[in-house]
């Protein structure tokens, strides 16, 4: 049977998860803004995952499937 403490525990866990998801969304939108200066890509093809490792470090993986590499100014000419 679900107790009051279980209800509180679930709510706290959900709160922490949604905090992490929100942080990831903000990071993804920042990353999108940065990458679109350099690449033509479909936003659906930008993927970002974060894993909390056992030692407390965070592993962040960004995957992008781009259509074209843009020339930025004249630096790439």
């Amino acid at each position: 049977m679900k107790t009051v403490t279980d209800r509180i525990r679930n709510s706290v866990r959900n709160g922490r998860d949604s905090n992490a998801e929100h942080a990831l969304k903000v990071l993804k939108s920042d990353e999108h803004r940065l990458l679109e200066d350099y690449f033509d890509f479909d936003p659906k093809n930008l993927k970002m995952t974060a894993d909390l490792l056992a030692d407390g470090n965070v592993s962040l993986t960004i995957t992008l499937k781009a259509k074209r590499f843009k020339a930025v100014g004249k630096t790439l000419d």
């Binding site: 107790t3 009051v4 403490t5 209800r7 509180i8 525990r9 709510s11 706290v12 709160g15 922490r16 905090n19």
Partner: protein, 263 residues
């Protein structure tokens, strides 16, 4: 040097200010020199709870603006000798006060007191950071309700990032509901929050009346005993938990629980 403790919660209305005043008074009774700092700028409460709003001459903003010295702004409690308050500003001029200002004020008070209790505003906005930055320890007040515990769970990691040693105070706990498993007990809350318990305060009419500054004759109550235990835990670093369920266990307790549900 004084111990600077911020009393915070995240959620509003859980009893931060009431506990700040009660804890301050109790520490004073134990021969500690205590100053309360109200950092809820524009929404000052501690002066009202201490029944001294008509005696406030200078406030924290006057200190920041160098219109007076910190000592001049302090107001002593009428009922507890040795308990002082640095009142919050009445006008809403929060942007005039920075975290550095509060830190300097707390540091200057540290040499004259044993405890600086900082009453933090609700929320995790600028006011919260301003109060927290000046403290070295934190008491996170929560009620046993899911929304308050969830907010406390969001505040505790922020306090950790400031390097504060945090402990939880569970306020307005009802022993009858805890026995019937209709309210979370303090051990469960501590487990969820991953924090030690500094105190458990039962729902108590006496504390409610006191916070409305109504003179009451009753000298001893469950709430006051729990505050004494809290003060002892704060003073000596112990984790004694006041048992809110003791009145509601056994045959007589079952009768009391039944009565409370009927009323």
């Amino acid at each position: 040097m004084a111990r600077s403790i911020v009393i915070t919660s995240g959620k509003g209305g859980v009893g931060k200010s009431t506990i700040t005043v009660a804890l301050g008074r109790e520490l004073c009774r134990r021969n500690q020199r205590v100053v309360l700092v109200d950092t809820d700028i524009g929404l000052n409460n501690l002066d009202v709870l201490l029944d001294m709003e008509h005696r406030v001459v200078y406030d924290i903003l006057d200190v920041v603006k160098n219109r007076c010295r910190v000592r001049q702004a302090l107001v002593e409690d009428n009922s507890t000798a040795g308990l002082f308050l640095l009142p919050s500003a009445h006008a809403y001029e929060a942007s005039e006060i920075s975290a550095q200002n509060i830190r300097l004020i707390v540091n200057s008070l540290s040499s004259s007191f044993d405890f600086v209790l900082i009453d933090c505003p609700a929320g995790v906005e600028l006011g919260f950071h301003r109060a927290v930055a000046a403290a070295r320890e934190a008491l996170v007040v929560t009620t046993p309700h899911v929304s308050a515990v969830r907010d406390a769970s969001k505040v505790i990691p922020i306090l950790k990032s400031y390097g504060l040693d945090s402990r939880v105070v569970v306020n307005r706990s009802r022993g009858d509901l805890v026995v019937d498993s209709e309210m979370a007990d303090s051990a469960g809350i501590a487990d969820v929050l991953g924090c030690g318990i500094a105190g458990v305060i039962p729902e108590d009419d006496y504390i409610n009346l006191q916070s409305n500054v109504i003179p009451v004759r009753r000298k001893k109550s469950d709430g006051l005993t729990a505050i004494e235990v809290l003060a002892q835990n704060v003073l000596y670093g112990t984790e004694t938990v006041y048992d809110v369920t003791k009145r509601y266990r056994g045959i007589l307790g079952a009768f009391k629980r039944g009565l409370r549900k009927l009323v």
